[in-house]
C-alpha cells in the first residue's frame, strides 16, 4: 500500500470558528503532532468552502500528492459534498475526504477557548486517524424500470399518475376503494374559490380512466413489495367485484334493484345509504359497481340474486374470485391519504350522543348536491333547518390528548362551512377557534369575506357541547360552553347545530403500509420525508416517493403540487435510465461467513438473502441502505461496511482519545 499523505484544512468560518477555537494553533499542531499518522500538509483558511478554500485543497492534492483530505469546519451535513467534489476535481476519490465538525460541535456550543481548541485538535486527530482507514469507493449504478406504481387514487395520486403517463411512461394506479377520487370527490365546494369539487375533479378522473399509459386498478390493494429502486416487484390483489367487467356497461340497474340498503360509512361518511351492490357515486371511475359480499343477501342467505336477474348483460358473477397480479416497476409513489379523526374520542363534544353534532365529513356530504340531503343543510331529523350553527375548530387537533399538530386545513374548511351555512340557511353562525390560520393565496381574503357575512368568531377552544340546560333559553338546544378569551369570560351559547372540524389523522394502517414499502413514519404516524424541507417528497428508501396527505395534513393545491413534484422526480430517474447510489453498503465475506443466520432477519429492507446451497448469506447492494446493523451484529465479523467500517470507527475513537480534556498547563486550578 502506498504511504498515506494526508492534508488537514482548518476553517475559520470567519469568526464563527476562529472566535472560539485557536484555528492556527490547531493547524500547526496537526502538522507537528500528527506527522506519524501521515499528515504532510496542514493549513488554515478564512472560508474553506469558498472557491479559494476549495482550490487550496485541489492544488495541494495535485502538487503535494495528497491521497487523503481532512477538512475541519462545519457539519458534514452542510459541506461534505462540497469538499468531496473539490477532491474529486483534483483526481482524488471523493470518499477519501473526511470532515471534522468543529463549528456545530465545538465553537458554537463551547465557550472556554483553550478547552475548545483542545477538543478541536482531538476531533482533527480522530478524523485523521479515520481517513487513513478510508478506501476509495465508487457509486453503485442501478438501471431504472420505466414503469411506475402509484398507490392511492386521491387527487395527489391522480396528479402524479397523469404527469408520468403524459410524459409517455407507463403507470399502475392502485386504489383500495371502488373508485378513484379520494376525499376530494366527497366535497361539495373547495376553498377559497368555492369551485365545485366534482366539476374540477371528474375531468381528471376520466382522463385517468381513459389514459392509454395508465393501468388503473381500483378495489385493489398492494400485497407484497420486493426488490429495490429501479426494479421493484409488486404483487397486487384485485379484489373481486363479482362482476364480469367485460360485460358490464355501467347502466346501474343492479344498484336500483338491489333490496339491501345499508349505511354508507365510507363515501357518505355515515349519513347516507347505499345498496349492497353499488357505485360509491355517479361519476365513479371506473363506472362498474362492486358487490359488497358481507352485506349481500345472496351471500348471507343463499337466495336473492336480484341483481343477476335484472342485469341486462349478464355481467353479475357470484363465483368470481380475487385476482393476483404481479407488476414490475422502477419507482413507487405513495399517495395513500388520510383518515378523519373519530370525534367520538372527544366525549365532551357529544358526537355520537347528541344527534345534531356533525363531523366535518358528514357536513361535506350534507352540503353536496349529490349527497343524502341533496345539498340541504338540515338537522339530524332530515327536515329542520338550523337557525343557529356553531363550527368548532381544532376538534382533535393541537391537543396532546388527541393529535398534537395543527391539521392545517380546518380553519379554511370551517370558513367554507360558515359561508355555505350562511348562503343556504341564513342561520346565525359562530366559529370557535383558537388561532385563525389562513396562510394561503386568497385565504385571508376569504376569511374577511366570511366576516362580512356577519359570522361571529369566538376565540376559545370549546370546552364542552352539552344538552344539559341550565335555564329556559338553553332548553332543547345544544349548548356550546367556551371561554371567549378576548372577553375573558366563560360563555354558554345555545345552538341548533354544531359542526366539528375534525383533525386529519394518518390512515389507520399507515404503519403497516410503511413497513410493507420499507419506509418510516413519524411518531404521529405520517410518512417521514427524506428531508422535511429540502426533499419533502422522497423517503429514506430510494425509489419510494410520497405525496399528498400521507405525509401530513395538506390542502388540495399542496397535495396536487406534491403529486407533480413526486412525478417530476420519478420522470427524471426514468429519463436518466441509471441511478447512482451512495456506496455506503454492507458486504458479506463469503469465505468467513459461517451461515449462522444471525443477520438474516435484521434488515428492514430484506437486503440479506441466505443461500441454502452454499450456506452463506449475501447482501443485495441495491437494497442495502447502509445502516450497518448487520455489520455490528455479525458474530463472525464476516460482514464489513464501507464508509463506516470497524477500522474507521475504531481509529476515530482512538484519535478522539489521543488528547486529554485540557492541556495540562492550561488547566485551571480551583
Amino acid at each position: 500500500m502506498n504511504k498515506k499523505r494526508i492534508g488537514v484544512y482548518v476553517c475559520h468560518c470567519g469568526t464563527n470558528i476562529a472566535g472560539v477555537v485557536d484555528v492556527e494553533n490547531v493547524a500547526k499542531w496537526a502538522l507537528e503532532e500528527l506527522g506519524e499518522e501521515g499528515v504532510v500538509v496542514s493549513k488554515d483558511n478564512k472560508f474553506m468552502c469558498s472557491s479559494v478554500g476549495q482550490e487550496l485543497i485541489q492544488t495541494d492534492i495535485e502538487e503535494q500528492g495528497l491521497n487523503r483530505v481532512v477538512v475541519a469546519a462545519c457539519s458534514p451535513h452542510l459541506h461534505e459534498k462540497t469538499f468531496r467534489t473539490a477532491s474529486e476535481r483534483a483526481g482524488l476519490n471523493p470518499y477519501l475526504c473526511e470532515m471534522a465538525s468543529i463549528r456545530e460541535q465545538v465553537s458554537w456550543v463551547h465557550t472556554d477557548k483553550a478547552i475548545a481548541t483542545q477538543k478541536a485538535k482531538a476531533m482533527v486527530a480522530g478524523a485523521v486517524r479515520r481517513v487513513a482507514q478510508h478506501e476509495p469507493l465508487e457509486p453503485i449504478h442501478v438501471p431504472i424500470n420505466e414503469a411506475t406504481l402509484v398507490v392511492g387514487g386521491g387527487i395527489a395520486g391522480i396528479q402524479a399518475a397523469l404527469e408520468i403517463a403524459n410524459a409517455g411512461h407507463p403507470v399502475y394506479l392502485v386504489e383500495r376503494e371502488p373508485s378513484i377520487g379520494g376525499h376530494m370527490a366527497q366535497f361539495d365546494k373547495t376553498f377559497p374559490t368555492l369551485d365545485c369539487a366534482a366539476c374540477i375533479l371528474t375531468p381528471r378522473m376520466s382522463e385517468v380512466g381513459m389514459h392509454p399509459k395508465i393501468d388503473l386498478m381500483t378495489w385493489s390493494e398492494v400485497e407484497n413489495v420486493d426488490g429495490y429502486v429501479g426494479n421493484f416487484n409488486v404483487r397486487i390483489r384485485k379484489k373481486s367485484r363479482f362482476i364480469n367487467l367485460a360485460d358490464c356497461n355501467g347502466c346501474g340497474i343492479c344498484e336500483q334493484k338491489c333490496p339491501v340498503k345499508i349505511v354508507d360509512k365510507n363515501f357518505e361518511a355515515g349519513i347516507g345509504y347505499r345498496k349492497a351492490i353499488y357505485r360509491p357515486f355517479d361519476q365513479a371511475i371506473p363506472n362498474y359497481p362492486v358487490l359488497d359480499q358481507p352485506n349481500c343477501t345472496y351471500f348471507i342467505k343463499g337466495t336473492c340474486k336480484a341483481c343477476e336477474k335484472f342485469c341486462p348483460t349478464g355481467a353479475i358473477n357470484f363465483e368470481k374470485e380475487d385476482e393476483l397480479v404481479n407488476v414490475e416497476v422502477g419507482n413507487i409513489i405513495l399517495a395513500t391519504g388520510y383518515d378523519l379523526y373519530d370525534t367520538k374520542k372527544i366525549p365532551q363534544y357529544g358526537f355520537g350522543r347528541l344527534p345534531n353534532v356533525f363531523s366535518s365529513l358528514e357536513f361535506e356530504r350534507m352540503c353536496n348536491a349529490a349527497g343524502p340531503t341533496s345539498g340541504e343543510i338540515v338537522l339530524r331529523d332530515g327536515v329542520t333547518k338550523p337557525k343557529s350553527v356553531g363550527i368548532v375548530h381544532c376538534a382533535g387537533s393541537r391537543d396532546l390528548n388527541h393529535n398534537n399538530y395543527c391539521s392545517s386545513i380546518c380553519c379554511m374548511q370551517s370558513l367554507k362551512f360558515a359561508h355555505l351555512v350562511h348562503e343556504r340557511t341564513g342561520a346565525t353562525i359562530y366559529n370557535f377557534y383558537i388561532d385563525m390560520r389562513t396562510p394561503g393565496k386568497d385565504y385571508d381574503e376569504f376569511y374577511q369575506r366570511v366576516l362580512e357575512e356577519k359570522t361571529f368568531f369566538i376565540r376559545g377552544k370549546v370546552s364542552e357541547i352539552s344538552d344539559a340546560a341550565r335555564n329556559e333559553e338553553e332548553e332543547g338546544k345544544l349548548v356550546v360552553q367556551v371561554e371567549d378569551t378576548l372577553l375573558g369570560e366563560q360563555r354558554r351559547i345555545p345552538l341548533d347545530m354544531v359542526i366539528l372540524s375534525a383533525a386529519l389523522v394518518p390512515k389507520a394502517d399507515s404503519g403497516d403500509v410503511a413497513k410493507q414499502f420499507g419506509i418510516s413514519c413519524s411518531s404521529n404516524g405520517w410518512f417521514s420525508e427524506k428531508h422535511p424541507k429540502l426533499d419533502p417528497i422522497s423517503t429514506m428508501t430510494e425509489g419510494i416517493f410520497i405525496a399528498g396527505c400521507a405525509t401530513g395534513p395538506k390542502d388540495i393545491p399542496a397535495s396536487v403540487s406534491q403529486g407533480s413534484a413526486a412525478a417530476a422526480r420519478v420522470i427524471s430517474y426514468i429519463e436518466t435510465g441509471v441511478l447512482a447510489l451512495e456506496p455506503i453498503r454492507a458486504t458479506v465475506s463469503e469465505e468467513n461467513c459461517s451461515g449462522c443466520r444471525i443477520c438474516n432477519d435484521l434488515c428492514p429492507y430484506n437486503a440479506i438473502v441466505f443461500h441454502d446451497e452454499t450456506m452463506v448469506s449475501e447482501i443485495n447492494h441495491a437494497l442495502c441502505q447502509g445502516c450497518g446493523t448487520c455489520v455490528a451484529a455479525c458474530p463472525a465479523g464476516a460482514i464489513s461496511g464501507t464508509g463506516f467500517s470497524n477500522e474507521q470507527i475504531l481509529a476515530q475513537v482512538k484519535g478522539l482519545l489521543m488528547l486529554d480534556f485540557a492541556e495540562p498547563e492550561l488547566e485551571k486550578v480551583p
Binding site: 469465505e591 468467513n592 461467513c593 459461517s594 451461515g595 449462522c596 443466520r597 444471525i598 443477520c599 438474516n600 432477519d601 435484521l602 441466505f610 450456506m615 446493523t629 455490528a632 451484529a633 455479525c634 458474530p635 463472525a636 465479523g637 464476516a638 470497524n646 475504531l650
Partner: protein, 331 residues
C-alpha cells in the same frame, strides 16, 4: 541443527492445565514421524531438561517452539522470553497462550481475593494464614519462588509470536496437520504461511462445520441446558434458546460440541480479524432477541445468567477491557 542433523524442537507449559501436551501426544503414530524429523531440545513434560541447558543454546538454535499457557508469574515470563530468543518459530499453542483461557478468568478478581480463595477457605487448613512470598530468608540463604503477577497475560502480550494455534486443546487432527506442514517445510517441500497467521483452524466460525439445521433467528427466551427437558436434536441450539458461542467462535474443531448437543463454549476464540470476542456475542445475541419493549428485553436477558463468564470464558485475558491488546500498546 543438532549433531544428528535434525532440527530442534521445544514445548513448554506456562499457566495451563497440560491438556495441550496430551493433544500433541494424541496424534498417535504421527508422533514417530515427528521424532524422526525433530530432536527434542526442551520439553519438560516429556523429558528432563534444565533451564540452563536452554540458556546455553545459541540464539535461534531451536527451530520450532510450541508454547502453551498464559503468563501468570515471573518464571513464565522469563522462559517465554528465553525461548523466544532461542527459537526461530514461536507458536502460541492452545487457548491459554492465545487468549488466556480458563486461567485468564482469574483476571476478573484481584490477586488478594485469589489468594484468599486458595489459602483461606474452609477446605484449606491454614490457621496461621500463611501466604506465598516470592523470597524468603532461610538460614541457608534467601530462597525464591516465582512471583505472581496481578493479571494473567497472553503470550503475545509478552513476546513476539509467529503463529497462533487455538483450541482448548487444539484438536489432534489439526496438530497432526501442522506437524505435517512443518515437516514438509523442513524438507523444503512447502513454505511457511505469513507471520501472524492462525494455523490449525478454519477461517469461518463453528456454525460452518455444524450439522444442525439453521433458520432465521428470533429468540424470546434464553435457557440453560439443565433447565430444559427435551431439545430438538436437529435444530440449531441457539434457536432453542441455548447460548451457543458457535456463531462467534473460530472454526476448525469440526463443531464437535454443538453437533453432539453441547453448546459451543468458544475455546477456539474469535473469528479472523475480530478485535473482541465477547463484543461479537453481545452484538449477535442482542440483535436477535425478539422484543422491542425494554421491560420484556430485560426479562429475556435475565436468562443469560453470567454474561461476562459466558462471553469471555476463554478470551478474557485477550479482551479489550480485561487487559487486552489496547492495554498493552507500547509495552
Amino acid at each position: 541443527m543438532s549433531e544428528n542433523g535434525k532440527p530442534k524442537f521445544a514445548m513448554y507449559w506456562a499457566a495451563s492445565c497440560g491438556g495441550c501436551e496430551i493433544a500433541v501426544l494424541n496424534i498417535h503414530e504421527k508422533i514417530l514421524d515427528f521424532d524422526a524429523n525433530f530432536e527434542v531440545a526442551f520439553w519438560p513434560v516429556a523429558m528432563d531438561a534444565k533451564y540452563k541447558d536452554v540458556e546455553a543454546l545459541e540464539d535461534g538454535e531451536i527451530l520450532l517452539t510450541l508454547f502453551n499457557g498464559g503468563i501468570r508469574n515471573d518464571e513464565n515470563e522469563h522462559i517465554a522470553k528465553l525461548l523466544r530468543q532461542k527459537s526461530q518459530i514461536m507458536v502460541a499453542f492452545g487457548s491459554c497462550a492465545n487468549e488466556g483461557c480458563i486461567p485468564g478468568l482469574a483476571n476478573l478478581s484481584p490477586i488478594e481475593s485469589l489468594f484468599e480463595t486458595v489459602y483461606n477457605t474452609v477446605s484449606t487448613e491454614n490457621e496461621e494464614g500463611i501466604r506465598p512470598q516470592s523470597s524468603y530468608e532461610m538460614p541457608e540463604g534467601t530462597i525464591h519462588i516465582p512471583e505472581m503477577y496481578p493479571v494473567l497475560r497472553t503470550l503475545d502480550q509478552v513476546i513476539d509470536v509467529d503463529y497462533y494455534m487455538p483450541g482448548c486443546p487444539p484438536e489432534s487432527h489439526q496438530v497432526a496437520a501442522v506437524v505435517d506442514l512443518v515437516i514438509s517445510v523442513v524438507k523444503g517441500e512447502a513454505v511457511l504461511p505469513p507471520k501472524g497467521t492462525v494455523i490449525g483452524a478454519g477461517n469461518s466460525t463453528v456454525c460452518d462445520e455444524c450439522e444442525r439445521t439453521r433458520n432465521v433467528k428470533k429468540i424470546k427466551k434464553f435457557v440453560r441446558i439443565q433447565d430444559i427437558e427435551r431439545f430438538d436434536p436437529e435444530i440449531c441450539l441457539l434457536e432453542q434458546g441455548l447460548i451457543c458461542n458457535g456463531p462467534a467462535t473460530l472454526s476448525g474443531c469440526m463443531a464437535k460440541c454443538p453437533t453432539s448437543g453441547a453448546p459451543c463454549v468458544g475455546c477456539y476464540g474469535p473469528g479472523p480479524r475480530v478485535l473482541d470476542y465477547g463484543a461479537r456475542m453481545v452484538a449477535a445475541l442482542a440483535s436477535v432477541i425478539d422484543s422491542r419493549d425494554p421491560v420484556e428485553i430485560e426479562a429475556i436477558l435475565d436468562g443469560i445468567v453470567d454474561p461476562a463468564g459466558t462471553f469471555y470464558k476463554f478470551n478474557l485475558a485477550h479482551s479489550l477491557l480485561k487487559t487486552g491488546k489496547a492495554s498493552w500498546n507500547g509495552n
